[in-house]
Structures are given as structure tokens and as C-alpha cells.
């Protein structure tokens, strides 16, 4: 019978390990190559930490402007993604997400386009609209977000339900289909009050005229006009234009519009995988949530630790923790500002916050160890919090 042992191997080879190592080291080049490896190079070009861009063109629209942002190089992206745009207002750096409306290949040519719509009480949007001129520079993040078409997941036909500035990611998708960087059919249902409120209409019309795969239906809620659907985007309308084909629905727009459309979609009995959302606009006022507890104090004391520094202040409580901090000049990283991306991840050391269930996208262990996403947490009492500014 065979003996199962290692006797045939020479143990003294072990004593050569150190010598062999020294020999290999001595043979090697004493200079570390300067150029990056391909995966690192691509990581840099696809995901730069930040991009500094110049405004080269501003086009006026009703209640909105379209900005062309140019850089030496703009990171490539997938249609549906957004940029987190930073501006300095009264000494504070504030950032907000804006979907890219230009095409992926435009980025390779060195520009992005975004649309900024005026929002009542909006801090950053209104600042951009009222203050930024061509020639000004802006700092933006890498393109980010997951509101994108995934061939392995989505139906070949995408029904885009858009409202207000929510049309922007779909404009990019339409252009991507035209230029060949995406391959799917896009049916855009775009809701506006009146024809004059429709953003980017010329662009949309010329794309749909020239590309079979893109179709645009305008839906007006406060105007009756030939060539336009009338009312709100509802289940009937979706059925009418999809004609029994399988489809995925992508919704983008203000919270109120999405809320309405969601109720309509519920009647269509679609599997959840076929419905995807991107909310444009954060909810500052917690009272819009049904189960927000009564009797929360009007003013709360906030104690913040950041890199070993401590700051204390009082603040009106009816706001997100993130906005409360930003108003004091404390700016934790943020991107989506709607609970999804986890960028604002911070440790709540003391106190309690209200987190609307539909926005709570934290990881399971976050709850166990007391971490919150301040962009969708509202103070219920005095808080102590640590942030990573």
C-alpha cells in the first residue's frame, strides 16, 4: 500500500527561502513605474473625485435654464446618472444633484448639459439661476446614480414617466439611443401644466422625429390642445401607448407626481422589478409624512463632532438633519439627498430621529450601531452626532 507522506521531498529546500528572496529582490528594477495600471486609470477617468467645469452656454427656458458645462475632459457616464453640483453660498459649500441631459458621447467630447428649474424656496437651484454666468466655474462630482437602463434586468421597452425637471435623464437616454450608446425603446410620457411649461420640447421633437425607437407623448394638465394628451399620466394612458407590450416604467419628477403615478401603476399589477424611481427634490418638511410624531419640540439642541472638533447650536427642528447642519456651515458629504446613496452616513451618538420608512435605505447593521443618513432623518429631540466633513 502507498505510504501517504512527504518523505520524498527535501526539507532543506526550506532553508533556501531567504536566499532566493534576496536574489529576486536584487534582480528587480529600483523604480516604481509612473503610469497607472489600466484598472486604476479607468477608475480615475470614470470616477474622478471631482471635476472642475466652466459654464460655456446658458439657454433660458420658462422657469429654468439649460447650462453647458465644459471641462478638459468629462468623465463618461450612463444616461440617467446625475452630477452632484457644488456652489459656495455665503461662505458655505452646498451641493445638489442634477441629472445629466446630454449624451454619454458628449462627455467624451468634453461637455455635460444640465437643466436647473426654479424651485420655490430652493437654495442652490435659485442661487445658480440668479447668480451664475457664462465663464463661471463649478465643481461637480463624478457622474453617479443608478437610475439607468440595465439590459440584463429591464424590459426592452422603457416607459418614461416624467414631470418638470424630471425629463432630463430621459433626454439623455433618448440621445444615447440615437448615438448608439444605448439600445432599447423609449416611450416618454411627459406631464406638464401647459405647453409653455414643457422643457426641451424642440430637442425631444427632433429626436423622436428621426429615431424610431424614441416616442414622446406630452400630457397637459391645465390646457386642452390638439396633439397633446390631457389630464395626468395614468394607467389608461400607459396602456394605450404600450399596446400589450412588456415594459419597464422609469419615473422621474417631483414627489407629488411620483406619488400619483405610483397609485396608478399599482392598478397595472406590474412586478416590482419593472418600476424604478428617481425623486427630483428633497422633502424638507417632515409634516408631509403621515406618521411623523406629534409633540416634537420646535427647537432642538444639536451637538456635532467632526474630526475632533465640537460645535453646539440650537435649530428649528422641522427639517432634515442634513439641512440643519448645512445651515450652520457644517457640510457632511452628500449626493442623492434622498436616503439612497449612503454618502451622508453619520453616527448618531445621542438622541432620536424620525426616518420615513420609504426613504430608509440604510444597511441593516447601521441601525444596530446607531448610524443614520442625515438627508432623510428629522430630529425628534436634542441630538449629538458625528459627521465626516
Amino acid at each position: 500500500m502507498a505510504k501517504h507522506n512527504l518523505e520524498s521531498l527535501n526539507p532543506l529546500k526550506f532553508t533556501e527561502l531567504i536566499k532566493n528572496r534576496e536574489t529576486e529582490i536584487a534582480k528587480a528594477n529600483p523604480e516604481i513605474p509612473k503610469e497607472d495600471l489600466n484598472a486604476n486609470f479607468l477608475a480615475q477617468s470614470l470616477h474622478p473625485m471631482k471635476q472642475t467645469l466652466k459654464i460655456t452656454e446658458i439657454i433660458e427656458a420658462k422657469d429654468a435654464k439649460i447650462y453647458t458645462l465644459k471641462g478638459e475632459k468629462c468623465a463618461y457616464f450612463t444616461s440617467g446618472q446625475y452630477l452632484s453640483v457644488s456652489v459656495r453660498i455665503e461662505g458655505k459649500t452646498l451641493s445638489r444633484p442634477y441629472s445629466i441631459l446630454s449624451s454619454p458621447k458628449d462627455a467624451l467630447k468634453g461637455f455635460y448639459k444640465i437643466a436647473v428649474k426654479r424651485v420655490e424656496g430652493g437654495i442652490v437651484s435659485n442661487f445658480i439661476l440668479d447668480n451664475l454666468k457664462t465663464g463661471d466655474t463649478l465643481e461637480v462630482s463624478e457622474p453617479t446614480g443608478s437610475f439607468t437602463y440595465e439590459p440584463l434586468r429591464d424590459a426592452e421597452l422603457v416607459v418614461a414617466v416624467a414631470g418638470g425637471s424630471g425629463i432630463t435623464p430621459f433626454v439623455s437616454m433618448a440621445k444615447a439611443i440615437v448615438e448608439g450608446s444605448e439600445d432599447f425603446s423609449l416611450l416618454i410620457l411627459y406631464g406638464s401644466r401647459k405647453e409653455e411649461d414643457i422643457l426641451l420640447k424642440n430637442e425631444l421633437d427632433s429626436i423622436s422625429k428621426n429615431c424610431e425607437k424614441v416616442r414622446v407623448i406630452y400630457v397637459l394638465s391645465e390646457e386642452e390642445k390638439e396633439g397633446f394628451e390631457q389630464g395626468f399620466i395614468n394607467a389608461e394612458l400607459i396602456k394605450k401607448y404600450t399596446e400589450n407590450r412588456a415594459f419597464s416604467v422609469f419615473l422621474c419628477g417631483p414627489q407629488a407626481m411620483i406619488g400619483f403615478a405610483d397609485k396608478e401603476l399599482a392598478t397595472l399589477d406590474l412586478e416590482r422589478k419593472y418600476i424604478r424611481h428617481e425623486v427630483h427634490g428633497e422633502v424638507a418638511d417632515p409634516l408631509t409624512f403621515e406618521n411623523f410624531p406629534e409633540n416634537t419640540p420646535e427647537t432642538v439642541k444639536i451637538t456635532v463632532y467632526s474630526k475632533g472638533e465640537k460645535k453646539e447650536f440650537f435649530a428649528a427642528s422641522k427639517n432634515t438633519v442634513l439641512r440643519i447642519l448645512e445651515a450652520e456651515g457644517i457640510t457632511p458629504p452628500s449626493r442623492c439627498r434622498g436616503g439612497e446613496c449612503g454618502f451622508c452616513h453619520s453616527k448618531l451618538l445621542k438622541g432620536e430621529v424620525f426616518i420615513p420608512k420609504e426613504l430608509d435605505k440604510r444597511r441593516e447593521a447601521d441601525e444596530k450601531f446607531g448610524f443614520i443618513h442625515p438627508c432623510c432623518s428629522y430630529p425628534l429631540m436634542d441630538l449629538e452626532i458625528e459627521v465626516s466633513q
Binding site: H4, L42, K307, H345
Partner: protein, 506 residues
């Protein structure tokens, strides 16, 4: 910012975190600085839609059970870290294609593993048992060596087998053991966990790893790796350590050839020593004054082979694992029974091997009822990724993912694609961006015959190139893997604590 720390840790990966836990537990004033907004490096999780995904862990070796704890569980207990462990029963299923291919499901536990092997390859049992005995010998030798003495006489008389294993490849040793070929192939299934080919990797290293998985009751944290990393973050805070997230160390500052602190955007911070969880070559070439780095350090970095590239696909499925017919936690899909062919498959992203894990089979609450997640992994060589550019990136990414999913569907004879509710694809570039390692590798330096775990350990004292600067992580002596990184971080802290004690500062 004139504050002075005993130690600054650059990076909160597994090794950086374990280092900081041990250091703070023993009273060192410690600051951890991490680029990302979260701790863990590889050891994290992320949320997409209604799914939370484990980002990297297939299984954590040597956790053991409550009654019979392994080194990782013991280390976490010594920190009083709050982790709930869930043990895993089956070791793996492996399906190898081609001539003499096989489909084998191997249980954990030495006896059960050997019995199953006998069933598959009659006459293999004894050699398998002999192999696990060698694993014990390897552990004993390491324990002896880690006491700091290495008497050649004792080594020859008591640890000769270890000397053989540590200087011969897996292939050479298994042949010497007289193990039947098919059994050898099945035993070698875990090679992707070290990412080195079995004709180069020494048996000592492979066997310690393999035995820790098969005999040492592997486990998963209940709430994905994020639970591990937050538990260690919590330990560091409780022990009085500080952590800055979202903060990149731009420079490791040296003075007269010694590390004295780091520079971040806000300014310089000083410490008695700096412990870097980043790659040595990244530190040497991008973060340090080139005059402070001895030539030999650069030569060593260049001589080494960097770990392989990772490509992973995370799926959230809108059916339960039972409904889809998924039973196995972990399946290895190889193009051939031959481990060298398997290794070479990494040269093409259209052919590379695939590992598929379904966490719900071990932790049913890993996702909502009526759903499950799948985690598909492949590895690529540097050349396989070299032709990818910005424009073809997305297409190639989807093409690889599709192949991986379809291979799984075909080999397991089940259907996955119609149920994909969420999909996330991480490429080598995704890892590069998140980990800041060369080519995004999570595996440190690949083991070579001259660069084995033992060669690293025995040479450690000659390779402390810059005074007061230490490196911990997958690029350290124990190479890749969670348990290796924890252990490397912990032992480096032990070493610094001894030095502090000897210098009479504490």
C-alpha cells in the same frame, strides 16, 4: 492641528481596523484615517432597491463555533466586538467541465470531507486524512515559529514536514502524498481564495487556509460584512480611539528617514508611528518623499506579482432561493478539472471561472421573504482587462456579467435571468476606485515560490524599510483574506506594543 498620537492608521480596511482595536485596547492613542465614508475596505455592504448585498465575503475562515471558537471568533471576543455569527455546514460544490470533469458537493468537517471524497474517488480517504494531519503539523510549526525562536535542530527534528510543505508547491506535495488525481483536483478547489496557481503556491500556506475553511467551521456575520466593520469601529470608539472618515491621507511625512505623521487636506498630524493599510508601492510612489524610501523597498515592490483582478455581479432576485431551486451556498464553476487550466482561464474574460454564492441558503433573512440575492465572482489577469476603455467599458461589463449568469443557469440547470430585480456589477475599476490598490486587487501580492507566507514572515525584520512606518493588509505576510488581514493587523499591533514597552515609553 498639533495633536500628537501614538499611532496613525492610514485606511480602515480589515487589517487597519484590527490593528486599531488591538492598539486602543492596549492604551495607544490612535487615530484612524479612511478615504471612504465607511469602514471595512472590502468588508462592507451596499443597498440597491430593497436588497442589501454582501460586497465581498464568501466565507470567513476559522471563526469556529461557540463551543469550539477559532482564532477569528476569539479575536472578536477579546475586543468585545458585537457580532452575530452564523456557521455554514457545507464547504463547497464544485463543477468542473471537460474530460474527467465532475460535480462534487463537499461537506465541512474533516471526517465528513474524507468520507465524501472516498465516495467520489475510491482509495483516496487515507491520503486526504494524511493531508489534514499535515495541516495540524503546519499550525504547530507556525505556533512554534511565532514564539520568535527558530532553532534549526528543533525545526529538523520536529517540523521537517512543515519545512517540506513550506518549500514545495501544492502540486508537488499532493503528488508526493500519492493522492489520486481527481481527489487532488477537488482538494485544490479553494485556490481562487489565494489567487495563486498550485504549481507556485506552497502547500503549507494552502493547507492552513483550506483546513481553516473545512475543519475550522467557517461563518458569516448575520448582517453582512458591514456588521463586522461597524463592530470594530465601535470597539475603537469605546477604547477611546478616533476615526476620521471621508479623509484621504495625501502624504506620509518623514524626517531623517523616519515616519513622523501624515498630511491630510486640513493639515499635518503627527504620531510616533504610522501604520499603512494601503499598498507599499502606492505609499512609496505616491505618498512619500522619494528620498526617504530605500532602493531595496522599491525593488521588492517591483519584484512582486500583484494580486489578480476582481469582477463581481450582485443580483437581487424577486423569488426565494427555494422557488428558484437554489440549494448551494457556494458553487465553483471551472472550465477544466486541472487547476492550472483554471488559473489560466483568468486570461480571458470570456472564459474565466465563476464562483456563485447565495447568502439566503445560510442566512434566510439576508433579503426580504420571497426574494434572494446571488453574488457571482470571477477573477481576471492584468492582461485580460488591459483592452478595456471608457467607451467599451459598459458593453464589456454587461457581456461578462451575462456570461457569468448564463453559465450558472446552464450548469445548475435553473433559471435566474427573468427574476433579476436589481443588478450591480463591480469591475476591477470599481474595486480600484474603492480600495485604491493596484488594479483594484483585494489580494495584496500573489504568492510566488520566493514570496511565500513563510518567506515574508522570516524576512519581516529585514523589510522594515522606513523606521516607524509599518504596513498591514492583504499585502502583508499572511496575504489575502479577512482572517489573514485581521491577524496581520493584530500581530503588527502586538509588535509595536512590544517595541513601545521595550523602549520604556509606556
Amino acid at each position: 492641528m498639533n495633536k500628537k498620537y501614538d499611532v496613525i492608521v492610514v485606511g480602515a480596511g480589515n487589517a487597519g481596523l484590527a490593528f486599531a482595536c488591538t492598539a486602543t485596547k492596549n492604551g495607544l492613542k490612535t487615530l484612524v484615517i479612511e478615504r471612504n465614508i465607511l469602514p471595512g475596505g472590502c468588508a462592507t455592504s451596499f443597498v440597491r432597491g430593497r436588497f442589501e448585498y454582501e460586497s465581498s465575503l464568501h466565507e470567513l475562515a476559522n471563526v469556529g463555533t461557540e463551543e469550539n471558537p477559532g482564532s477569528v471568533r476569539q479575536l472578536f471576543e477579546s475586543y468585545k466586538a458585537k457580532v452575530n455569527w452564523v456557521n455554514e455546514e457545507n464547504a463547497f460544490r464544485v463543477i468542473a467541465d471537460g474530460e474527467n470533469g465532475y460535480d462534487a458537493t463537499m461537506p465541512a468537517g474533516v471526517e465528513a470531507f474524507a468520507d465524501k471524497m472516498e465516495e467520489l474517488v475510491s482509495g483516496s480517504r487515507e491520503s486526504v486524512i494524511a493531508l489534514f494531519d499535515l495541516a495540524k503539523k503546519a499550525e504547530a510549526a507556525i505556533a512554534y515559529l511565532s514564539q520568535g525562536k527558530a532553532d534549526p535542530m528543533v525545526m529538523m527534528s520536529e517540523h521537517a514536514d512543515f519545512m517540506r510543505m513550506a518549500s514545495h508547491s501544492v502540486d508537488e506535495c499532493l503528488n508526493a502524498l500519492g493522492m489520486p488525481e481527481k481527489a487532488q483536483n477537488i482538494v485544490k478547489t479553494y485556490w481562487p481564495y489565494l489567487g495563486a496557481s498550485t504549481d507556485k503556491l506552497d502547500l503549507a500556506h494552502y493547507l492552513i487556509m483550506m483546513a481553516r475553511y473545512i475543519a475550522g467551521s467557517p461563518a458569516m456575520p448575520l448582517m453582512k460584512s458591514h456588521e463586522l466593520s461597524l463592530a470594530l469601529d465601535d470597539v475603537i470608539r469605546r477604547n477611546g480611539g478616533e476615526i476620521f472618515y471621508n479623509t484621504e491621507v495625501k502624504e506620509i511625512i518623514t524626517e531623517n528617514g523616519k515616519a513622523i505623521g501624515v498630511r491630510i487636506d486640513e493639515g499635518e498630524i503627527y504620531a510616533d508611528c504610522v501604520v499603512a493599510n494601503c499598498f507599499p508601492e502606492t505609499a512609496f510612489s505616491k505618498m512619500m518623499d522619494s528620498k526617504a524610501v530605500p532602493q531595496k523597498a522599491l525593488r521588492l515592490a517591483n519584484a512582486r506579482k500583484k494580486g489578480e483582478l476582481f469582477f463581481t455581479v450582485y443580483l437581487g432576485l424577486n423569488r426565494s432561493a427555494q422557488e428558484l431551486g437554489i440549494k448551494d451556498y457556494s458553487v465553483f464553476l471551472f472550465n477544466s478539472p486541472d487547476s492550472l487550466q483554471q488559473y489560466r482561464s483568468m486570461d480571458s474574460f470570456d472564459e474565466s471561472f465563476v464562483i456563485v454564492n447565495c447568502l439566503n441558503t445560510v442566512i434566510p433573512t439576508a433579503s426580504e421573504e420571497g426574494t434572494c440575492t446571488l453574488f457571482l465572482t470571477t477573477m481576471l489577469s492584468e492582461s485580460a482587462w488591459a483592452g478595456v476603455n471608457e467607451e467599451n467599458y459598459k458593453e464589456i461589463k454587461n457581456r461578462i456579467a451575462k456570461r457569468m449568469i448564463e453559465l450558472y443557469e446552464e450548469k445548475l440547470n435553473l433559471s435566474v435571468k427573468p427574476y433579476i430585480e436589481e443588478i450591480v456589477i463591480a469591475t476591477p475599476s470599481t474595486f480600484a476606485r474603492y480600495l485604491n490598490t493596484p488594479n483594484g486587487t483585494p489580494y495584496g501580492y500573489e504568492v510566488q515560490p520566493w514570496d511565500t507566507m513563510m518567506a515574508r514572515i522570516m524576512n519581516a525584520n529585514n523589510e522594515q524599510f522606513v523606521e516607524n512606518l509599518y504596513f498591514v493588509g492583504a499585502h502583508g505576510d499572511r496575504a489575502d483574506g479577512y482572517s489573514s488581514a485581521y491577524s496581520n493587523g493584530n500581530s503588527t499591533a502586538g509588535k509595536i506594543l512590544r517595541e513601545v514597552k521595550n523602549s520604556g515609553k509606556a
